[in-house]
């Protein structure tokens, strides 16, 4: 055992803690023979808290470990901390979800933690091999989790569709990576960007590089459900258990964005004037087109959904489109805006799903119609839900408003005026279906459904709601964090 090896272990401490927690959850459930599901939940929460503690310990100078494969930097930490917090909230959902089965809880938490480890690898590596492994770790856990309601046809269908779509897109992505390897002779993104061969190729004939990039981007587009790779999203989100849906819609999607930002950032960011940088603006134009299609499709489809769960699924597709405005800019400012919006997205979407968990537990149904009059039965959580809806629409004084504002400013600054107009029109469309929920809650006649109190669930959904409004009013810390996190993206990938 030499010291370098131990130092290397210390720098991947969060991943190690997560792995140990995952195994512990599995064993504890086995020992308790499935009776003591609450204790397994607390063990998972403790593991997540320890992970967050180690992540805070890695604040500071970026470093590399595992032969330069893993970058310990602010960018990775930004996504890791948010994902860890998101998973902690999802675990709380599971513990307070009345519909959740209690048996097999060890496997449930194990798979959730496995997915989180996948996210950690995805967002912290500039090495495409490790990125694909992280992708698969996240995907394979998600496939099993979305089929966890056995005996439910929709859940089984969700899992099956997810596997087929996921397998196909991973195949496409790996094929694209193999082409990139053929062009540059390396799978490390920083070395790839510095490859003289690649520059020569792009300036003489960019078609092979273009094909490779499009194929790799297809893999990312599947993970963040960007049109035309979004078809799996509504079915999977509807069929999966609601806490799992929250995890997929928030943590998994944001991780896809994190890996995408690292990929694009390493190859194209700050390369103005060079052939690679010029090619980056063309990739940006393609992404802008996809963004416009994605948000329009998502919003129009969400208009007609009777089920709140399915509506949130389509709305998450639309939000992927909004985030792409910032990425399509292909500038530092644009990327920062995208990261800020993702942070906002964590708060408001987790909150909305928390409300859905509560409400499904009460009524056993997820349609907007059965929400009627619930605003008077459970006033606090319903009012908080309205705050989330306002934020999702992008109205002040919420975090969603400021996020959208940043994205629009960056879009206009970088000559994507048309895209910003499309996004603004889309926000108006989204107002209709978000308000439909608010109307059902407060302006409809009450049904005779009794609202059972759920103080803990209401409590942390309210905390999320307060955060949604507070960060909308006091935007500096979150924005500063996003800016600071992005500043290290270049140094992070170089080794």
């Amino acid at each position: 055992m030499n010291n370098a090896y131990l130092d290397g272990l210390a720098s991947i401490a969060p991943e190690i803690v997560l792995t140990v927690t995952a195994l512990g959850a599995l064993v504890l459930d086995l020992v308790a023979k499935g009776r003591d599901s609450v204790r397994v939940g607390y063990l998972t929460l403790a593991g997540l808290a320890a992970t967050a503690w180690f992540l805070f310990g890695q604040w500071g100078q970026p470093s590399h470990t595992a032969y330069g494969m893993v970058a310990i930097d602010q960018f990775g930490n930004f996504f890791k901390l948010f994902s860890t917090a998101a998973l902690a909230i999802v675990v709380l959902f599971v513990m307070h979800d009345r519909r959740e089965r209690r048996h097999g809880i060890g496997e449930y938490y194990f798979l959730l933690l496995g997915a989180l480890i996948g996210i950690f690898f995805m967002v912290s590596t500039g090495n495409l091999l490790l990125m694909v492994l992280g992708f698969e770790l996240l995907s394979l856990s998600s496939y099993s989790l979305s089929g966890f309601h056995k005996g439910n046809r929709k859940s089984a269908e969700a899992s099956m569709k997810y596997v087929i779509f996921g397998g196909l897109s991973t195949g496409i992505m790996v094929y694209g990576i193999s082409l990139l390897y053929g062009l540059t002779g390396t799978i490390d993104l920083a070395k790839m960007a510095g490859s003289a061969n690649l520059v020569a190729q792009v300036s003489s004939n960019p078609i092979p590089f273009g094909i490779a990039t499009v194929l790799v981007l297809a893999g990312f587009a599947y993970k963040i459900s960007l049109a035309p790779f979004h078809f799996w999203t509504p079915d999977v989100y509807e069929g999966a258990p609601t806490p799992v849906t929250a995890f997929l819609a928030v943590a998994s999607k944001a991780a896809g964005f994190g890996a995408l930002l690292r990929f694009l950032g390493a190859l194209f960011l700050d390369q103005g004037g060079t052939p690679l940088g010029e090619y980056g603006t063309r990739v940006g134009t393609m992404l802008a087109l996809l963004a416009a299609v994605t948000m329009t499709l998502g919003n129009l489809a969400a208009l007609r959904q009777p089920s709140l769960k399915r509506m949130l699924a389509y709305s998450s597709i639309a939000h992927a489109g909004y985030v792409m405005i910032g990425i399509a800019c292909m500038t530092r400012g644009g990327f920062t805006a995208a990261m800020y919006y993702l942070a906002a997205y964590y708060f408001m979407n987790l909150g909305a799903f928390g409300f859905l968990v509560y409400f499904e537990g009460v009524t056993g149904s997820d349609t907007v119609d059965s929400l009627k009059g619930m605003g008077f039965k459970a006033p606090l959580i319903s009012m908080v839900m309205v705050a989330f809806l306002v934020s999702l629409t992008g109205l002040p004084p919420t975090v969603g408003f400021y996020g959208k504002y940043l994205l629009f400013i960056e879009g206009v600054d970088n000559g994507l005026m048309w895209l910003v107009v499309v996004a603004a029109l889309n926000s108006v469309v989204s107002l209709f279906y978000y308000l439909r929920v608010a109307r059902a809650l407060f302006l409809s006649k009450a049904s005779d459904q009794e609202a059972a109190p759920a103080p803990v669930l209401t409590g942390f959904v309210t905390v999320l709601g307060v955060a949604t409004v507070a960060f909308g009013l006091y935007v500096t810390p979150l924005q500063a964090w996003a800016t600071k996190s992005l500043d290290l993206i270049r140094s992070a990938t170089g080794s």
């Binding site: 032969y67 496995g114 492994l133 394979l140 190729q201």
Partner: protein, 184 residues
């Protein structure tokens, strides 16, 4: 010579892969898969990776396919058809035809683009990277530089295993389905 051999083997591998999907009986699928594995192994040999080729044969053709055969025999699926026949039924629907046409058009565009593309140069192998064509070189790389991805793979397999068991495990009789699960 090597090029011709490569193309022949690539075609064999692709035909085998198509056979896996199109074969009527599960046994036919397994035999097609065997063809793909052998073709891939010889491609590895052509590229100079003797150990990988050997491992491909031993692990995939030797172990995994035999396991598939056992499962098929145990479930008695082999009796469905002893002859090797192809079934094109999934391709008969209009939608599948439209999708196939689009895919073919895209593939043609890609082929034309690749034909017109001129490659600047074949990149040099990373000089610092050690040779991995021998077993020793491969082991040094796998357990040295790539030890973290190697361990990530083991975690991936564990997650897959647990996921499969969680999905495949029969529901216990005492375990009531959760409330609201039998929604239409």
């Amino acid at each position: 010579m090597t090029n011709i051999l490569f193309y022949v083997l690539a075609i064999v591998a692709l035909l085998g892969a198509a056979g896996v999907v199109l074969a009527k009986s599960p046994m036919g699928s397994v035999v097609s898969l065997l063809g793909t594995f052998f073709a891939l192994a010889v491609i590895y040999l052509l590229a100079g990776f003797q150990f990988l080729a050997g491992a491909q044969i031993l692990v995939y053709a030797g172990a995994i396919l035999v396991l598939f055969l056992f499962v098929i025999m145990l479930l008695n699926l082999g009796a469905m058809g002893s002859k090797f026949e192809l079934s094109f039924a999934p391709l008969q629907s209009t939608r599948a035809r439209i999708a196939g046409c689009i895919a073919l058009a895209l593939a043609l565009v890609g082929l034309v683009a690749a034909q017109r593309a001129s490659f600047a140069a074949v990149p040099e192998r990373d000089a610092s990277a050690p040779a991995i064509d021998s077993m020793e070189g491969l082991a040094l790389e796998l357990f040295g530089r790539y030890s973290l991805p190697f361990q990530a793979t083991s975690l991936l397999l564990l997650v897959t295993m647990v996921g499969v068991i969680a999905l495949a495990k029969r529901q216990r009789s005492g375990d009531e389905p959760a409330k609201g699960e039998e929604r239409p």
